[in-house]
Amino acid sequence: MAQKVSNARLVKVTLLALWFTLKNLFRKPVTVQYPIVKRPIPERWRGGTFALTTDKETEEENCIGCKLCEKICPSGVIAVEMEKHGGRGWAKSFILDLQGCLQCELCVQVCPTDAIVMLYGMEAPVTRREDLILDKEKLMANEGLYQAAWATGLKLQNLHEPKK
């Protein structure tokens, strides 16, 4: 039932297949030498870990503990406790469980005060599962570690509905 392939074409075609792989022998390899050479990360890259930003002028943390990100998170890994003093809300404790995070950037989009932001550096692999639970101190410390990513709540929202 196999269809008969004429012999002359057979020879031409096997040479074609061989020539096809030979062509790649002389092309430059495409490999990125990872530990030495890093692949250029695009501007909107969102594969990194998280940070809680602090306001540049007033040196206060931006997060007002409004729990919007906790409600929007598909896998429910954000747990925020709010406390009120000094006329505005603060996040008493902010736990982001990186074990179950989808990296879908909905929390960054929802945040009214650009508090939670993704970074250009990714979380290093860990040997203990509990190290992936980022509590408030770690999130605040992360901000200095890597450069903040492009996406902030404000930018995503006006991309979403450009102010006239």
Binding site: A2, T14, A17, L18, F20, T21, L22, N24, L25, R27, K28, P29, V30, T31, Q33, P35
Partner: protein, 320 residues
């Protein structure tokens, strides 16, 4: 040569072959990587992974050696040894340089083809003893394939013997002086190609690697083998391939004969080129199905080699 000298040379030859073969695995991974536009082993020995084969061999040495409880213990452990020994035997009679051969007998070709068929018994024992359905199917496939391809292998081997008029490697090399057997108008090329195809099928190499078909039979007959036993199979495959490419370079490409290099260097260059050719075929063809393999053998290769042998005989008898 006295017997003690012979044994010493034998041991040196064994060590040399095993070292060459480990570095052939490195060459294969680098060459395959370049074909697929990537970089092969790089980090293990700093410049281009020169320590990679040593690491692989050492790791396989340290690995825990599992013998499945329900498998036939004696046969299971015999198979890898059998396969390595039979594939190494071939080197005893192949002339590696113009003058030097370990054991000089005048029926070298006949001896080599006899050894070639012993390997499949090892593979069959491995497949049978590891009491695993995949291994059983692969063992049956290997037996069918190697026995079938024995016929075109022998017939295409005889053509150089007919041209040189003897089965001894030295005479074959002398007969090729100035006129390699591959350069014969029609007969040479056909026997070279059929011998190469049959050697590929004999060594279970792509496009005929049906017995350790990755995508169908997981890992073929060495499914149950781990650690050093698996290393034996892995090694035996390359040793067999090296022997086949060495044979090709001697029978068809005039072995040690060559303009300005000495004999041994020419043999090495030609074998390396044939080995790279086999690798090149390996990494650019898909696998043939079992019935097509058999159909190709009985309907195409065997009649072709028979006619080829007839032509060679006629040619020799015509002009003496």
């Amino acid at each position: 040569m006295t017997s003690t000298e012979n044994i010493a040379q034998g041991i040196i030859l064994l060590g040399a072959i095993l070292l060459i073969v480990t570095y052939l695995t490195w060459l294969e991974r680098k060459f395959a990587a370049r074909l697929q536009s990537r970089i092969g082993p790089y980090w293990v020995g700093r410049p281009h992974g020169w320590l990679q084969p040593i690491a692989d061999a050492l790791k396989l040495l340290i690995k825990e050696d599992i013998t499945p409880s329900k498998s036939d213990r004696f046969l299971f452990n015999l198979a890898p040894v059998w396969v390595v020994v039979t594939s190494l035997l071939g080197f005893a009679f192949l002339p590696l340089t113009a003058s030097w051969v370990l054991v000089n007998i005048d029926l070298g070709l006949l001896y080599f083809s006899a050894i070639g068929s012993l390997i499949v018994i090892g593979i069959f024992i491995a497949g049978w003893a590891s009491n695993n359905k995949y291994a059983l199917i692969s063992a049956l496939r290997a037996a069918a394939q190697v026995v079938a391809y024995e016929v075109p292998l022998l017939l295409s081997l005889l053509v150089p013997a007919v041209f040189a008029g003897s089965l001894d490697f030295q005479d074959i090399i002398r007969a090729q002086d100035g006129h390699w057997f591959i350069l014969f108008p029609v007969v040479g090329q056909i026997s070279f190609l059929t011998f190469l195809l049959a050697a590929l099928a004999e060594g279970n190499r792509i496009p005929f690697d049906l017995s350790e078909a990755e995508s169908e039979l997981v890992a073929g007959f060495n499914v149950e083998y781990s650690g050093m036993k698996f290393a034996y199979f892995y090694l035996a495959e390359y040793v067999h391939l090296l022997a086949a490419s060495l044979l090709v370079s001697i029978l068809f490409l005039g072995g040690p004969l060559g303009p300005f290099f000495s004999g041994g260097v020419w043999v090495a260059i030609k074998t390396l080129l044939v080995f790279l050719g086999v690798l090149w075929i390996r990494w650019s063809f898909l696998r043939v199905r079992i019935d097509q393999l058999m159909m190709l053998n009985w309907k195409v290769l065997t009649p072709l080699t028979l006619v080829n042998l007839l032509l060679a005989g006629l040619w020799v008898s015509l002009n003496g």
